[in-house]
Amino acid sequence: MTRSTRNRRLTTVVAGASIFALTLSACSGGDDDNGGTDADGNITLTVATFNDFGYTDELLKEYEDANPGVKIEHTRAAESGDARTNLTTRLAAGGDGLADIEGIEIDWMPELSQIPDAFADLEDPAVEGRWLGWKEDQGRTPDGKLIGYGTDIGPEAICYRADLFEAAGLPSDRESVAEFLGGADGTWEDYFEAGETFAAASDVPWFDSSVATLQGMIGQVEAAYEDPETGEPTDLASNTEVKAIYEQLLAASDTLSAGLTQWTPDWDNAFQNNGFATMLCPAWMQGPIEERSGGVTGWDIADVFPGGGGNWGGSFLTVPATGDHVEEATKLAQWLTAPEQQIKAFGNAGTFPSQIEAQDSEELQAATNEFFNEAPTGQIFSSRAKALDEIAQPFKGANYFAIHQTVQDAITRVDVDGSQDPQAAWDQAVSEVANLGF
């Protein structure tokens, strides 16, 4: 009798304790402390990317075969936003749980540059001169430390609807359109003037979104919102350069803009409804346009960009300094961003390579896009990428995106919402910047 009760008590204690231990271990679970090295000295390298970098299992297998003892685990986040939150949260936690190689987008550089010590120095004679000069500079912190190996870039051209151009009685082939938009040394003024000519003969708006157009215009300003020397934000109220762009854009958008915000359902539908005739077109925009334009023919790409050149987006591979295999990871990152692999990635996912050698490769030069009326996209975008070498790259400090957001919001209030006039929207942006309280 006593025995059985004692037993029962013991069982309850054991049961309780084990539940407890389980819950506790669940909290701390997931960390194997061997750092991805097994008994035979084989190592596992983890690679974290997002969207589609074009790194297929076959491509990674090539590296595994060439390097016995290395196993690669590739995780892909569906959206760059998820990857960004994951990366920043883990960096904030001291680097726990980061992959050996983390893919990042150019827009994250300003914030990551604030913690350069979290990333390994990737400087290596082997990669010297591998990338277009401006791309390599993007991968450096303001102090000049190379923390990112460039993967792809987003050189911008102009995508246009040849059928709508024709209907408006305008020349519609690629070369004439490039000329019509101002040619090699065309300006934004030329682009908007061409829009007025088009608008005189057509009811279709000239471009899709003023915010997207702003992206192209502000990307050519050397120091838009901050002083490159100190990194301090400049006063927006007295920022005549940005104000001039703002006014020029909104004056044009009054008659030329479709008043859409990119990536909204309205924007999606506009592709099906002749919503606009042209748009700024980074290399990666080809996919999204084709996805939304089922049944629409007439899209084409002109080898021209107002103001010289523009780059929108593009990614890098970084190696977090806290990883267990920094050296091996650097080696893998070097291999992945080598021209040979990046050409394969371009074939897999259409990510436009940032390596000089890859751009001159035959495979890339021969690439065309059937949907865009067989446009020689390889040639067009590599010519656009080289145009970027001639213009200065914008400085983006820690507060760039916070300030840029307020200007974007002001443009949306005028162009999309129609709730304010340009001056009122600008005044609100100025007071919002003051409220950020740097």
């Binding site: 008590r9 309780g16 539908n269 409804n273 919402d417 409220n435």
Partner: protein
């Protein structure tokens, strides 16, 4: 094979006494300590996952704290002052309450009516009951995508339909109230079914004699619903109101996916407090100190609203509830 057990030692009276004492002492501990041990896992887990973050957030909120570079100087209540000084904070507060009222009030009313219908004797009961829960299973982001298409400004389905009957298109993403209405619709779509089932469960626990008595007294369906069902549901209504208040004040998913930027519109027309918090902490500023201050302000607001809720609802339930009970008693006595 027989085993000879060694002869039992002569009972040592002293030792037995000690043992009994020990047993008794253990028994006393058992009685005193065990209940606490049994409930301790919850409290220990709560301390780790609830209390610690709460206190830690308070610590963060009085420091300068950057998401990536970490802890900075101690600044006292400066973060709170900064938050109160931002117009976006007050806008987000206004939006949160507006969306909360537009969603919670209709939600509770519709849920009660739906539950009453499901409680009636209908065919294929389980089918309908599962049906109302279906929207709850759908991921909020998926709901956001679908409703985003319905509520699109230029080519949206709803504006199209409104156009047929000659109504001007509503600017769902530009107007403050229109955007709140659209977001509340998403919230209601998702949560009404859930609350319906809670009400339904409570309705089925209402003693059937009360209805019999009411019928004998000549009460119609509507009268039964108002005078028997609703008073009997009071405790459940309190529960649902409090939970939907807590949920409503923390609303995040639906307004965040209402446009691709996720900041609540160019004029922050539909930015809620949690979105404001997220934007400050994880957006462009990465100011953790201020984000923590917002979290604490939200916590205090929810506590205050919760208390007001509690007092109002207990007051109603004690006065009206007593009346209803007395009436019911009288009714049943008369029926006898």
């Amino acid at each position: 094979m027989a085993v000879l057990s060694p002869p039992k030692p002569a009972p040592d009276s002293q030792r037995t006494a000690k043992r009994i004492a020990l047993n008794q002492r253990r028994g006393k501990w058992d009685v005193k300590l065990s209940p606490y041990l049994y409930i301790s896992p919850f409290f220990i887990l709560f301390a780790i996952t609830g209390l610690f973050p709460l206190v830690y957030t308070a610590v963060v909120s009085v420091h300068q704290w950057h998401l990536l570079t970490g802890q900075g100087e101690f600044v006292g209540l400066q973060n709170y002052v900064d938050v109160f000084g931002q117009p976006n904070f007050w806008k987000s507060l206004r939006n949160t309450f507006s969306i909360f009222l537009l969603s919670s009030v209709p939600q509770v009313l519709i849920a009660i009516v739906l539950a009453a219908l499901l409680d009636a004797n209908i065919r294929a009961k389980t089918f309908w009951r599962m049906g109302v829960l279906l929207p709850y299973v759908v991921a909020p982001v998926a709901v956001g995508l679908i409703f985003g298409r319905l509520f699109a400004d230029q080519y949206g389905l709803i504006n199209e339909v409104l156009g047929y009957v000659g109504i001007e298109p509503v600017r769902w993403h530009a107007d403050v109230l229109a955007s709140h209405f659209a977001i509340s619709t998403m919230v209601n779509f998702r949560w009404t079914g859930y609350n319906t089932l809670i009400f339904l469960a409570a309705m089925q626990a209402v003693p059937r004699e009360l209805y019999e008595a009411a019928i004998i007294d000549g009460a119609g369906r509507l009268r039964q619903f108002v005078s028997v069902t609703i008073p009997q549901l009071r405790a459940t209504i309190i529960f649902v109101v409090i939970t939907s208040t807590i949920g409503g004040l923390q609303i995040f998913d639906e307004p965040r996916v209402f446009d691709p930027t996720g900041l609540g519109g160019a004029d922050r027309q539909w930015m809620t407090i949690t979105m404001f918090l997220y934007d400050i902490g994880w957006g462009n500023q990465k100011n953790f100190g201020r984000a923590a201050a917002v979290a604490w302000i939200l916590f205090l607001i929810i506590i205050v609203i919760g208390m007001i809720n509690f007092f109002i609802t207990t007051k109603i339930s004690s006065s009206d509830g007593a009346q209803a009970k007395a009436k019911a008693r009288k009714n049943s006595r008369r029926a006898r």
